[in-house]
């Protein structure tokens, strides 16, 4: 066990090193001079010169990487040139928002996706199956931003039930927080639900036709017990893997949804930073999400190791 853990942990260091080079390198491919953009509309040459020296833009690339990586190792991710705030503070500010949105979205996705998947598998080739399939097709083909704006128009402008956009911390006002999160979370969850529904359906169909399910039915078990207890458990394994992957993607920010609903999460932060060429923010946030991804992966591996006796050898 310990050996396995050490082995897995040892791969993290080179992976992160590689990731950091990739993040830094790709950023340099962005066209446009960051100093020119950050200098604002007046393009004052002294401001541009100051920014070039602050950002080490005239130094060779490896040296600039060394400056940045050196700071990162000391826990300093740099500072946003646009708003003069440390990147770490920005990450701490946005992380709870992104986490909350991702959690609610994935819960909605699981509730809708798995339920619809089971229903369509159990009631194969019936009205319910077709309805669930149409729903999945709709969820996959509806653009997030369009659905978002339509929901705002219906629930906020016409019905007046929910706030149109914005974010309030749950510690400030839980009710308002949930009210402002439910629409963006639904928009995000809806698309994922469609994918989960399709996977649940096919996994369930496979499991429902297997021998042990036939045996369970032959024993005279209640159909509900057969479906939910015997079949679903096995069918859920690929669905959970998929759900975890989708959750990881959500953590790196949902750009369009955050933009439409003005949710101040990672997605909005990165997009604004890219357009403003605020390199430190882009690098810091991407490095953070990449690290989180790698850590989640490691945790998954450890969990798999604990669950699956064959791996323990």
């Amino acid at each position: 066990m310990l050996n396995y853990l050490i082995q897995r942990a040892a791969t993290i260091v080179p992976t992160l090193f590689f990731v950091s080079i990739l993040i830094f390198g790709l950023q340099q491919l962005l066209p446009g001079d960051p100093a020119l953009i950050l200098a604002g509309e007046d393009h004052d040459p002294t401001v541009i010169a100051h920014l070039r020296s602050t950002l080490h833009l005239d130094d060779p690339l490896p040296l600039r990487y060394a400056y940045w990586a050196g700071g990162v190792l000391k826990g300093d991710l740099g500072e946003s040139q646009r708003i003069k705030k440390p990147v770490l503070d920005l990450i701490i500010e946005k992380l709870p928002v992104t986490l909350e949105l991702a959690c609610i979205a994935i819960v909605i996705a699981l509730l809708i996706g798995v339920t619809a998947g089971i229903v369509s598998a159990v009631a194969k080739d019936t009205f319910w199956d077709y309805a669930a399939n149409i729903f999945a097709l709709w969820g996959l083909s509806t653009p997030n931003f369009w659905l978002g704006i339509m929901m705002i128009l219906l629930f906020s402008v016409t019905l007046g039930w929910l706030p149109a956009s914005g974010y309030v911390s749950p510690f400030e006002d839980l009710k308002t927080n949930l009210a402002s999160m439910i629409m963006p979370a639904f928009v995000l969850g809806n698309a994922i639900a469609a994918v989960l529904m399709r996977h649940t359906r096919s996994a369930m169909l496979q499991v429902l036709s297997s021998d042990y399910v036939r045996t369970a039915r032959a024993k005279g078990l209640d159909e509900r017990v057969v479906v939910l207890k015997h079949a679903l458990r096995n069918a859920l394994i690929p669905v959970i893997t998929l759900g975890a992957l989708e959750f990881g993607t959500l953590l790196s920010g949902a750009v369009l949804t955050e933009q439409v609903f003005s949710i101040p999460g990672f997605g909005k932060l990165i997009v604004d930073a890219v357009f403003n060429r605020d390199y430190a923010v882009v690098q810091g946030v991407v490095l953070f999400t990449a690290t989180a991804y790698i850590m989640l992966n490691l945790l998954a591996d450890v969990a798999y190791f604990l669950v699956n006796p064959r791996l323990r050898g």
Binding site: E41, H43, R82, V157, W161, L162, A164, D173, S180
Partner: protein, 504 residues
């Protein structure tokens, strides 16, 4: 009702409308972008100035006719040689940290603008050589040469006064928690989410302040911003989409205000920025540029691009501006003459690439222009380029023509000097003529408005014939707000003054 039951059935919690738990005099203000750093010395965006209008008072302000009016100053006097400006300061003004505003503070601020690393105000105050404290409530700005736009600069960020004590303590982090002397003081900022300001009880002009709080919420999408206004989450939105004006006007709950901007929309032509200028007929030959302008129908452009929500123009200031050169009126579309000019120039079908940022307005301009000038024989290729990249390409001269907007400054100098004087930072066209340089310098050093007007007429006569920039129109600032809001003043700089605003 059926819809509600369906939602409940699906298990989605539906919440009743969120009662605004904010007090009645809180103005919720929808911004079109997230402002940059809230430090007047370092700030560089238009949207930041919207917030500063409530947060930081300036020595002077402008009124709806672009006249300079006192704010933290009570009066001013130019010396006989126009090389010193003596400013009387308003007594009884304090900063949000309780510090007193006086001549020493004013001197500190001007010097901070001039010397702080990365200051965006240095260029604006370049002619200010030194600042003297004449007495506790009087400062004198000594200039290296007379500088007519100085008062207008002091009516913008260069004239904003911050607490010297707070500025010294915070250094370049001042913008994280700015301390100024405006009607509202800073409470908190969550980047890309909100900026909260509360009423400053010791404001010098507190009788004119009725709001308790102002919350600025950046909402980038114009449709969502409008939806927030309609659903009651916002009281005011700036920069609404022209296409929404008609529908909102018929809604009795809201009002729409509009005012012509002090900036402009236009097309910059590379006439000397790089080798490319001589490689295409548009950059090479002024006759081709004249034909290009004659092929344009500005009214048509305004109609298609802004649904009529803009004023047509052909100069760096709008036709109703006092410095508009009346000797150079807006030319009418004349395709026959354009064709004749092209034939004369020996290029009946000139081809060039028009670079445009990817915003929908600028792309629309490019498309309409492309279609219009085709009638005269032009073959325009549109190159849509992400804004930051396009700016970089323009700066390097890697373009032939470029659709560009300028947010505008109160003094005409701010709309023309940096664009037309040789080697200036915003001179993307690469235009450079000693004669124009001399006139531009003269327009800066002459304080008499009538004299300046004459100089600008001379500049226009050269520049609008040579056409390194072709000005198209001046957008309307479109504001929409609840009818409960009263006391709104429309100032052409597009910034909302909070003085006098009341929510009934």
């Amino acid at each position: 009702m059926r819809l509600k039951s369906l939602l409940l059935f699906l298990g989605i919690p539906v919440f009743a409308v969120i009662a605004a738990n904010v007090c009645a005099q809180t103005l919720r203000f929808g911004l079109a972008e997230d402002p940059d750093v809230l430090d007047p010395t370092l700030a560089r965006t238009f949207v930041g100035r919207v917030v500063f209008a409530a947060l930081c008072d300036k020595l002077f302000d402008i009124d709806d006719k672009l006249n300079i009016v006192p704010q933290l100053a009570t009066g001013y006097e130019w010396s006989a040689d126009s090389k010193a400006l003596t400013i009387k300061l308003r007594p009884g003004v304090t900063f949000h940290d309780g510090e007193k505003f006086d001549a020493a503070a004013a001197k500190f601020n001007i010097e901070r603008h001039k010397t702080m690393a990365g200051s965006n105000r240095r260029g604006e105050l370049a002619p200010v050589a030194s600042v003297d404290v004449v007495d506790p409530m009087t400062v004198r700005l000594n200039l290296s040469a007379p500088f007519a736009p100085l008062l207008a600069q002091l009516a913008d960020r260069a004239g904003m006064m911050v607490s010297p004590k707070a500025a010294q303590e915070a250094g370049d982090k001042f913008g994280v928690k700015p301390i100024c002397s405006g009607p509202f003081r800073f409470v908190e900022r969550i980047a890309q989410d909100r900026i909260v300001l509360e009423r400053y009880p010791n404001y010098w002009n507190k009788a004119d302040i009725y709001l308790e709080k102002v919350i600025y919420l950046p909402i980038v999408d114009a449709t969502v911003r409008l939806a927030n206004l309609k659903s009651g989450q916002l009281d005011f939105i700036e920069r609404m989409a022209p296409s929404d004006v008609a529908a909102l006007k018929s809604d009795s709950r809201f009002k729409v205000s509009k005012i012509t901007e002090i900036g402009y929309q236009g097309i910059t032509i590379n006439v000397g920025k790089s080798d490319l200028a001589q490689k295409n007929p548009l950059g090479k030959d002024a006759k081709v540029r004249e034909a290009f302008e004659l092929a344009l129908d500005r009214d048509g452009i305004v109609q298609v691009v802004t649904e009529g929500e803009a004023a047509v123009g052909n100069q760096w200031v709008a036709p109703d501006n006092t410095y508009y050169a009346k000797n150079m009126p807006i030319p009418k579309r004349d395709v026959a003459k354009a064709k004749a000019l092209l034939a004369e120039a020996g290029v009946p079908n000139p081809t060039f690439t028009l670079m445009t940022p990817t915003t929908s307005d600028t792309q629309k301009i490019a498309q309409v222009v492309q279609a219009m000038v085709k009638d005269a024989g032009f073959d325009v290729k549109i190159q849509s380029t992400e804004f930051s990249t396009s700016l970089d390409m323009a700066d390097k001269g890697q373009y032939e023509a470029y659709v560009l907007a300028w947010s505008g400054r109160a003094d005409p100098d701010g709309n023309i000097f940096s664009f037309a004087a040789c080697k200036q930072p915003l001179n993307y066209s690469g235009f450079c003529k000693q004669e124009v340089d001399d006139l531009l310098t003269k327009s800066r050093t002459t304080l008499d408005p009538a004299e300046r007007r004459k100089t600008y007429e001379q500049i226009a006569a050269i520049l609008l014939k040579d056409r390194p920039d072709i000005y198209l129109f001046h957008r309307h600032w479109l504001w929409a707000y609840t009818t409960k809001l009263t006391g709104l003043r429309t100032i052409p700089d597009g910034l909302v003054r909070v003085q006098g605003l009341k929510l009934n």
